[in-house]
């Protein structure tokens, strides 16, 4: 059963964080064009508020939805709307997007007047999160205003800041904790106020002692505890962080508020602070550009909608031309076939891997039941069984092995000596089960 300080399963990975962890956050030059997808979040896509030919200013809201589960999108730079059309995004889908030709002379809309974060009400915080289009920036992209509005009968007592950054290579959260610690602590206080939480834990993997030290020095509120957690993938999975810090398991199919917890990522907390204090919309984010095949690894402050190609060029390009480019982390991110895809609110990294490190699943063989996936699955599933059932197209039978509980951390595929695409097969089972229920 769940005990504090640990969760069952999980593995240690080669982290390769030293490539970028000492690179301070820097800004980059403006791209010629930005692509703002109308859906960068879980929930209803936005409707465009502008037309082709319109001039837009940086910070202007250009897409919105009236649905509750949604988040508006903003122009991250000034310019002219060149097109509103489907464009490929980093997840491999084609998404209706507003394409803006960036103007040489930048002009921002004037943000709201500065306000003291001590005086805002709970409603004002939620409203600011919604207006600013803030979504979970750790990768899940769930609208923050929705997370801050739990059902009335599910009181939240604890805010957990997911500062694990358990994916290899990525260092953006680490850098933000070192460089934007005050903003993070201010964001934490806003999150606690919004949901009425009594305490907060900032969970940081113990491979980032400098971040732990920095935040301990900055946390001026006894309700906020900096919690060192074991470096073990997938520590940064929402459910597993809850188990490690609170010693509770989130019931199958339920959300964290079921155990009285709200989990938010570092970048999201900082974005919330900026939205509440300055009325600043979600216009930019820190992206780690790294991997053994990038010339100059860096942590860059990037405008939302900037094409990956532009960022790669800013980092000196690739060392070898044959490469794999992943947007997100190496365990859960997506490999790109086209670098003209935009950075969105949930894109935490661009990782260029050299060819020799790329191992496909093309030549996978049958499962010999070594049990490595069973032993290491953090959800305690039976991954190899689901994998073989999917191979036999027996999706009904897979339901007995809980594919819907899979958090898609990718450990099963990582450890499989037969190189089977186990997590991909589990995702397929999820899709088939969902399709059947419709």
């Amino acid at each position: 059963m769940a005990t504090r300080g640990d969760f069952q399963g999980g593995i240690h990975l080669p982290y390769n964080k030293e490539l970028a962890k000492d690179e301070p956050i820097t800004e980059i030059s403006m791209p010629e064009e930005i692509i703002i997808p109308l859906s960068q979040h879980i929930g209803a896509p936005c409707e465009p508020l502008v037309e082709v030919g319109d001039e837009v200013k940086a910070g202007q809201k250009i897409g919105e939805s009236s649905e509750f589960v949604s988040a508006p999108v903003h122009a991250s730079l000034s310019g002219t709307v060149k097109a509103i059309e489907p464009r490929p995004n980093a997840s491999g889908d084609s998404v209706e997007s507003i394409v803006i030709e960036v103007a040489q002379e930048q002009e921002s809309i004037s943000y709201e007047q500065e306000r003291s974060i001590d005086e805002v009400s709970e409603e004002e915080i939620v409203e600011a999160a919604r207006e600013a289009g803030i979504v979970g920036m750790g990768g899940a992209s769930f609208p923050t205003s929705v997370k801050l509005s739990p059902p009335d009968d599910k009181p939240i007592d604890t805010v957990l800041i997911n500062a694990c950054e358990c994916e290899p290579y990525l260092t953006c959260d680490h850098r933000m904790m070192l460089e934007q610690g005050e903003e993070l602590i201010a964001g934490v206080k806003l999150l606690m106020k919004a949901v009425g939480a009594e305490k907060c834990y900032i969970g940081i993997e113990d491979n980032k002692p400098d971040a732990i030290k920095n935040l301990k020095g900055l946390a001026d509120d006894s309700r906020i505890k900096i919690q060192s957690v074991p470096t073990q993938y997938p520590q940064g999975s929402e459910k597993h962080l809850i188990t490690t810090v609170l010693g509770k398991e989130v019931p199958s199919g339920a959300l964290p508020f079921e155990v009285g917890a709200l989990v938010q990522n570092v970048a999201t907390a900082i974005a919330l602070y900026e939205a509440v204090a300055f009325g600043k919309p979600s216009l930019e984010r820190v992206v780690t550009v790294t991997g053994q095949n990038i010339k100059q690894p860096a942590n860059l402050l990037v405008k939302i909608g900037t094409p990956v190609q532009h960022i790669v060029d800013e980092c000196g390009g690739f060392i070898e031309n044959k490469t794999k480019v992943v947007v997100g982390g190496p365990m859960t991110g997506n490999a790109q076939s086209d670098l003209n895809v935009p950075i969105t609110k949930g894109s935490s990294g661009i990782i260029a891997l050299p060819e020799k490190m790329v191992k496909g699943n093309d030549d996978y063989i049958s499962c010999m039941k070594c049990g490595a996936c069973v032993e290491n699955c953090p959800m305690r599933l039976y991954p190899n069984k689901i994998s073989t059932l999917v191979e036999e197209n027996d999706y009904d039978e897979t339901e007995n092995y809980y594919p819907l509980d899979c958090v898609e951390c990718g450990i099963c595929s990582y450890v499989c000596p037969a190189r089977r695409p186990v997590v991909q097969q589990i995702k397929k089972a999820k899709g088939e089960i969902a399709a059947k229920k419709h």
Binding site: F7, Q8, P14, P168, K239, T243, E249, V250, S252, A254, Q309, G317, F318, N321, K322, T323, K324, V325, V326, P330, M331, T332, G333, A335, Q336, S337, D338, L339, I351, L353, M357, V358, K359, G360, N361, I365, S366, M368, K369, C370, G371, A372, V374, E375, M379, R380, Y382, N384, Y402, D405, G410, S413, Y414, V415, P417, A418, R419, P421, V423, Q424
Partner: protein, 307 residues
């Protein structure tokens, strides 16, 4: 630069461990080296002939079956060679080579490919070959050459039918099957496999522990004799631990191992066969799907129905 860019696209995760199935197979073969060396030391060149015969026949059988089935030939994964070598190590040193050929063909064709090939077989393939030989050639399969027999290849009783010093059993200076006699060599290989994580300690510990406890209670010859005599040590370390035919859950591995120990003692102490390792593992192999099914851990955050 764009026009020469060559982007590889595949699904996550984009990093993988270095471990491969064939590496595991060759590592187990490496762990067998002390046992193979001991078999040569105690039984002479005949041991090498048997090992070569079984290894080569097993690989040729695999190629033949895969060609016939129109499947890709996976001879390089090392699994057929491993099956052949393990089978050879369970055979009496003076077994006619043609019988060893038969045993190897049965192991690969009936033990492995009839179920669909690597990973699909229910029974340990080497033990299927061995079971076929035991039942078909009763006399040849129970003629035990004295170690370092040299000139007079006397048929002596297997230690399980007679008396032997425990120290001789441990080192392997007794009659018996090629690879079963030297507990020392087997343990060396076993420790390597444990160190590399290719076998779960629960299986040998559960198996040997059960035999030790039960034979202390009911055996006439005592636990130390039973542990080191016959094929128990080899079976507990190299055969019951076969990944394909043992459970994937930790709890399941305990049940499997204890079951093997229980059946072994029943056959050894109360049965007509002197040795029970072979059938105990095969019988427990049969139970593995059921054991796995009933020992799956409760999933994270499982909600009990009607709870």
């Amino acid at each position: 630069m764009d026009n020469t860019l060559d982007l590889t696209v595949s699904s996550a995760p984009h990093v993988k461990s270095e471990e491969t199935t064939s590496n595991i197979m060759y590592q187990v073969i490496l762990a067998l080296v002390p046992v193979m060396f001991a078999s040569f030391y105690f039984f002479g060149p005949g041991a090498i002939y048997l090992l070569l015969t079984c290894g080569i026949t097993a690989m040729l059988s695999e190629v033949a079956v895969q060609k016939l089935r129109g499947k890709p030939v996976t001879i390089n994964d090392g699994s057929a060679l491993l099956t052949g070598l393990i089978l050879a190590l369970t055979l009496p040193p003076d077994l006619p080579l043609w019988m060893a050929v038969f045993g190897s063909v049965v192991a690969i064709v009936l033990g492995k490919h009839i179920f669909g090939g690597l990973g699909y077989n229910v029974f340990n393939p080497a033990l299927m070959g061995r079971a076929f030989l035991t039942l078909s050639y009763v006399v040849s399969m129970t003629e035990w050459t004295a170690p370092n027999g040299g000139v007079d290849t006397l048929s002596t009783a297997t230690p399980l039918e007679g008396e032997a010093e425990v120290i001789n059993l441990f080192i392997g200076r007794v009659g018996g099957s090629l690879g079963e006699t030297s507990a020392l060599a087997i343990l060396l290989g076993g420790l390597y496999l444990l160190y590399k994580g290719y076998i779960d300690w629960r299986i040998p510990v559960g198996y040997l522990g059960t035999v030790a406890v039960l034979t202390t209670l009911v055996g006439e010859q005592g636990a130390s004799f039973h542990l080191f005599a016959g094929g128990l040590m080899f079976g507990a370390i190299f055969m019951a631990t076969d990944m394909v035919t043992s459970p994937v859950t930790k709890k399941g591995r305990w049940i499997f191992a204890i079951g093997c120990g229980f059946i072994t003692v029943i056959i050894r102490v109360f049965g007509n066969y002197p040795e029970g390792v072979l059938f105990s593992i095969l019988l427990m192999n049969m139970c593995v799907p059921l054991i796995d099914q009933y020992t799956l851990p409760q999933i994270y955050g499982e909600v009990k129905a009607n709870g």
